[in-house]
Amino acid sequence: MTMQIAHSGPLTSSDERARAREALARDNLRTEPKAVRIVVITIAITFLTVFVVLPLVVVFAHAFSKGIAAYFAALAEPEALAAIRLTLLVAAISVGLNLVFGLVAAWAIAKFDFPGKTFLITLIDLPFSVSPVISGLVFVLLFGAQGYFGGWLRDHDIQILFAVPGIALATTFVTFPFVARALIPLMQEQGTQEEEAAISLGATGLQTFVRVTLPNIKWGVLYGVLLCNARAMGEFGAVSVVSGHIRGETNTMPLLVEILYNEYQFVAAFAIASLLAMLALITLIAKAVLERHLDEGQDANDH
């Protein structure tokens, strides 16, 4: 290069000019009049307050309306403790199953080409498009006394409906898409080159998965697990159909909230509800953190 910049001003002034230009560009982008901007923002904030923040506040207000002692007493009830235990157990089972299914499905879809792939992708979304009540009824039809496997199950003395297995199955079905959905785009974008590199360097399939694939998708996996868990703990419709509402045995937290509310035990109902609300808040925060990690992963991927 032979041309030289003849003269350049001090760095600070050119910086200032750049900033001023940026500010101008920003203002020029805002073409709407100020009044319109204020109205739009006000509507959005009002809506959020009334429909999102207010209900959350009301839940906690009701839960603590008779004091902290009453709140903890409600949570210490054997029925409440049983519901919490059952909810945690069911969530653990369904998250575990969906983690495995989701990984396998995403792996198959992202890394291989096979006939029926599009159909499989569509099928994964089925639980999202079906009403949870229907999802529950499907299991009643399959495993109920009059169902396809009902007779066989009774002969072998296996209880699925109105017991933990039924609740876990229904929850797993309803929450199936979360992990797969989180992983498919991520794995598709990452492609297979790193895996190919690992294999050509002498790694076995298992080594490749553990050392290369898994570290690349771990934030995506956590993201899927988080959403899957939130839905699993909060699921009402499908679980309600298969649970049988046996007190202290097959009531999950959402089911117990409804029962207590119908019995006018408002403090107890909202105390359990407040736990679910807290789960939601924690999920939101964790989600934000994970999304940041996922973005970082994307940046690192940017060649």
Binding site: E196, A198, I199, S200, L201, A203, T204
Partner: protein, 345 residues
């Protein structure tokens, strides 16, 4: 180590990626597979590496049937166009990967692995980057790390898929020279794929020109440039003027104009005349085989590039020395110093 492929065929659906390819690479050679995209060169490379499988044919590495082995057992170093570095590992761990995944029985101990990785990073002159992550490196650095990683397993052969394809022109030129001297140093049998003729001609001992799943010509860089074996090779390598001509009764015609060129030994029928741009000599009107009007001239580098509308109707670009200035509107005679005619439209 020699590499030999025999009658390799590979189709993707209805697309014939490889259509009967035979190639033998001698020990210590650095061979370039050159061709346009879709010519099958990357497919050929991936089949040799074991990352793809042919429909039929044979692959022999050092005389042994390589198709009986998976990619893992072939002991082949592969460098990807987009580096494929492990993004969550440091540069050091990337290079160490091939050593760490070896079976316990033959795996080196930690100290030996460290020494080896250090050696390799020295070899690619990037030892100061050991603790960085791939995302913190420039493209050229990433590709050198990818090469160090491939060399870590002491591969029997080295395969590079468009190794400089994703880099900018200046870095590319540097790395080309570097790759050649590195190959000289380690002397491992290597094949690299490229669509850049300059890269192929400058780096390789031998160039394999491919088109539509077939090998068009194999030869030294000089051979493929000076005596192209087919119309495709002539058109693809070097900058050529291509004119459709008719050969009949010992006369070559461009449109309805006979050209003052010898037609000895040419088969009659529609043919293609090829001349390198710099082989078209400029003279006064009526002096050469062609005549035309200069449309416009661009001056850069050691030559002037002129667009000339031939009286037959075609417009061609020529590279003329700058000693005699050409101007738009000039009428000139053009005489090809060297030319080749290939039969077929």
């Amino acid at each position: 180590m020699t590499i030999e492929v025999r009658n390799l065929v590979k189709t993707f659906g209805s697309f014939k990626a490889l259509d009967g390819v035979d190639l033998k690479v001698e020990s210590g050679e650095l061979v370039a597979l050159l061709g346009p995209s879709g010519s099958g060169k990357t497919t050929l490379l991936r089949i040799v590496a074991g990352l793809d499988w042919p429909d039929s044919g044979e692959v022999l590495i050092n005389g042994e049937d390589a198709l009986a082995q998976g990619a893992r057992e072939r002991h082949v170093g592969f460098v990807f166009q987009h580096y494929a570095l492990f993004r969550h590992m440091t540069v050091f761990e990337n290079v160490a990967f091939g050593l760490r995944v070896q079976p316990r029985a033959v795996r080196k101990d930690e100290a030996a692995i460290r020494t080896r990785v250090k050696e390799l990073l020295d070899l690619v002159q990037l030892d100061w980057l050991a603790d960085r992550y791939p995302s913190q490196l420039s493209g050229g650095q990433r590709q050198r790390i990818a090469l160090a990683r491939a060399l870590a397993i002491e591969p029997r052969i080295l395969l590079l898929d468009e190794p400089f394809g994703a880099l900018d022109a200046k870095v590319r030129k540097e790395l080309r020279k570097w790759l050649r001297s590195l190959h000289h140093e380690i002397n491992v049998t290597s094949i690299f794929v490229t669509h850049d003729q300059e890269e192929a001609l400058e780096v390789a001992n031998r160039v394999v020109v491919m088109d539509k799943g077939r090998i068009e010509q194999i030869g030294s860089p000089g051979d493929v440039y000076e005596s192209p074996a087919s119309a495709f090779v002539h058109g693809f390598i070097g900058e050529s003027i291509e004119l459709p001509v008719q050969v009949e009764g010992g006369v070559i015609r461009l449109g309805d104009r006979p050209l003052r060129l010898a037609a000895d030994g040419l088969a009659p029928g529609a043919s293609k005349l090829f001349v390198r741009r710099h082989d078209m000599l400029v003279g006064p009107p009526g002096s050469g085989a062609f005549e035309g009007a200069v449309r416009h001239v661009r001056n850069f580098g050691p030559v002037q590039r002129a667009e000339v509308a031939l009286s037959g109707g075609e417009t061609i670009e020529i590279d003329a020395p700058r000693d005699k200035e050409l101007r738009a509107g000039d009428t000139v005679g053009l005489e090809p110093r060297r030319y080749r005619i290939f039969a077929g439209a």
